[in-house]
């Protein structure tokens, strides 16, 4: 009986709209995210979209034509490389396969038949390379069936070639850059440090620094120091700025300590050893400045948002609950960017990703490697605007009763807010 009363009390205390709402919102968001990045089974089950240029006129030309017609959807079937490539790009194809004129002849002369693969890569997320994986499997199938055919026909070539008569010569076109001799999977792997490490670092910084600022507000209220602070002869804007700056420094220190450990862990995992410099996939000083600016603006945006959330904190315990929305907002872009590129997301996904300020530094390094300055600079401008608005709201809340009472007289307060902004401009 007593136990029941205690359990009832605990549930009543813990199960509040404040604790349930973030979980419900997050579950809805993650559900939607699943739809955005989903479709993996469809990708695997469907015939891949490819372009085919078959210049071979030898013994196996009909086999090649029949094979690809059966197992793939041909978005181009002609003779011109440039037209073929543009058609594949336009129609969302994965690759242009070119069978050279000497394909059959080479095999019969004890040399591999080379298939030239021009990959059209749209994104470097983990799931973006699935389509190329399907085409890779297709080429392996072709190798297998041609091998069977050679055995059935009892063609007199050496035994290792008869088991592997087809080889690939591949070039990947990704975001306007041509990367000879590299597969999309290798590029994905090469960029995996950006796909995994950068979003995790940013997420940790946001969560650590954000948690600090929200907790700071909770502690001020719990220790009853806020009222004294607010009656000191210091501008409320400075109080907000001081809290944001202090929390940013503490958050960065905590994130650095965390990331040193995480960095060692990640080093133990092997990534591609492709030389990024060889393909021009490096960042210049200007690029690093943009990445830094994007990160700095995002931290400010996150902390300003946390400052607004912190005003809802009644004490340290309630402050911990309030970090939940920030954690969610940091995790969503992290997962989206890990699995998909901005360009390969559906429009709604792109809008969501762009609107969340934390996405921008996560995307910035990869975007700058492929000279996508518009997305990076546009992101910095958007996050700067977001930060200005969030700081203005935080300062405004600090100037109202809301900071102490938790109440807001919406109409009158909004009117006062705009009057103050006008007065400030003057």
């Amino acid at each position: 009986m007593s136990l029941g009363i205690i359990i009832k009390k605990e549930i009543k205390e813990l199960l509040t709209p404040g604790t349930i709402l973030p979980v419900v919102v997050l579950s809805i968001v993650f559900g939607s995210m699943g739809n955005m990045i989903g479709g993996i089974e469809e990708d695997l089950g469907e015939k891949p979209l490819i372009g085919l240029i078959n210049r071979d006129t030898g013994r196996y030309t009909s086999f090649i034509t029949l094979f690809f017609n059966e197992r793939a959807t041909l978005v181009y079937n002609g003779t011109d490389n440039d037209t073929g490539l543009s058609q594949v790009e336009e129609k969302g194809g994965v690759a242009l396969l070119i069978i050279p004129s000497n394909f059959s002849a080479n095999i019969l002369k004890n040399t591999s038949g080379v298939v030239e693969v021009h990959w059209v890569m749209e994104g470097a997320g983990i799931m973006d390379s699935i389509s190329s994986g399907v085409v890779d499997t297709l080429i392996s199938d072709m190798n297998y069936h041609l091998s069977r055919l050679l055995i059935e026909e009892n063609v007199q070539i050496n035994s290792s070639l008869i088991l592997n008569p087809v080889s690939k010569n591949q070039t990947t076109v990704f975001k306007g850059k041509e990367l000879p001799g590299v597969s999309p999977g290798a590029i994905s792997s090469m960029l995996s440090s950006q796909s995994i490490m950068v979003p995790i670092v940013i997420m940790m910084i946001i969560i650590m620094a954000g948690g600090t600022v929200i907790s700071s507000m909770g502690l001020e209220k719990e220790n009853k120091t806020l009222e004294t602070l607010l009656t000191l002869p210091v501008k409320r804007a400075w109080i907000v700025a001081g809290k944001i700056a202090g929390s940013a420094i503490v958050g960065l220190i905590m994130a650095i300590i965390y990331m040193i450990g995480f960095g060692y862990y990640m080093q133990s995992l092997t990534f591609s050893e492709l030389d990024m410099q060889k393909y021009g996939l490096t960042l210049g000083w200007g690029d690093y400045v943009l990445v830094g600016l994007s990160l700095f603006m995002t931290i400010l945006a996150g902390l300003s948002l946390c400052m607004i959330l912190g005003t809802f904190a009644k004490n340290y315990k309630s402050a911990q609950t309030l970090t939940f929305p920030i954690t969610g907002l940091a995790i969503i872009p992290m997962f989206l960017i890990m699995f998909k590129d901005f360009e390969t997301l559906p429009l709604i996904g792109q809008i969501v990703l762009f609107m969340i300020p934390f996405s921008h530094p996560m995307m910035s390094m990869r975007s700058l490697m492929f000279d996508d300055y518009l997305l990076v600079i546009g992101g910095i401008v958007y996050v700067a605007l977001f930060t200005i608005i969030a700081i203005a709201i935080a300062v405004y809340i600090f100037k109202t009763d809301r900071i102490l009472t938790g109440r807001m007289k919406h109409k009158k307060d909004l009117k006062t807010f705009f009057t103050r902004i006008k007065a400030y401009r003057r």
Binding site: K224, T225, L232, V234, K235
Partner: protein, 238 residues
Amino acid sequence: MNAIEITDLVKKYGIFPAVKGISFQVKQNEIFGLIGPNAAGKTTTLRILATLLQPTQGSVTVFGFDVTNESSRIREIISYLPEDAGAYKNLTGLEYLEFIAHFFGQGKKKDAIVKKGEQIADLNDRIHTKVDTYSKGMMRRLLVGRALMIDPKLAILDEPTSGLDVRNAQEIRHIIKHSVSQGATVLLSSHNMLEVEFLCDRIALINNGYIVEGGSPSELKEKYGAKNIEDVFTQVVK
């Protein structure tokens, strides 16, 4: 010029009116007591004067400065001691006084402020230990020191001796009296009627959001034929 001018002050929290149109003045260099039962509107009034809350209606000025439009000027000349105030637990008492003093002066001026704060708090060596280790009485002494060390033109003290033993409370009362002798004006609220009678030049009784009585302690005792302010209080707030 009066230190405080309050005219027809109304304060509502949402639809709930906490203060329902009060008016009173506090003269310069006097100790004015605002007394009343719990939830009468005392703390709300003090918070409005301390620029923490905005009035819903009415006019409130502190040394001629309007609380709504000139709050930053008011913060330069007041000191507010909330009833249940605390200090930053990771700081020592001295560090806390230094932190506050930074906002009121630099260099020698700051050092003088801190020294005065130390004297008022009178915590001896414990001023160098963390606030987290302080008893309730020590904490209150530190906070009174903090409130009065800056020589405010107006000190707003909400239950200044709340939670203190007899000896500590008496010392704090002497400190407040001394502060007024140095030129400060004090507005305080208290549930301790003996304290109010001992300290205040004038008092106002607030009940259910209204000022229901006001005057000097001797005037009020005479008017109600009471032996002390406690009797006046019980007669007025029935």
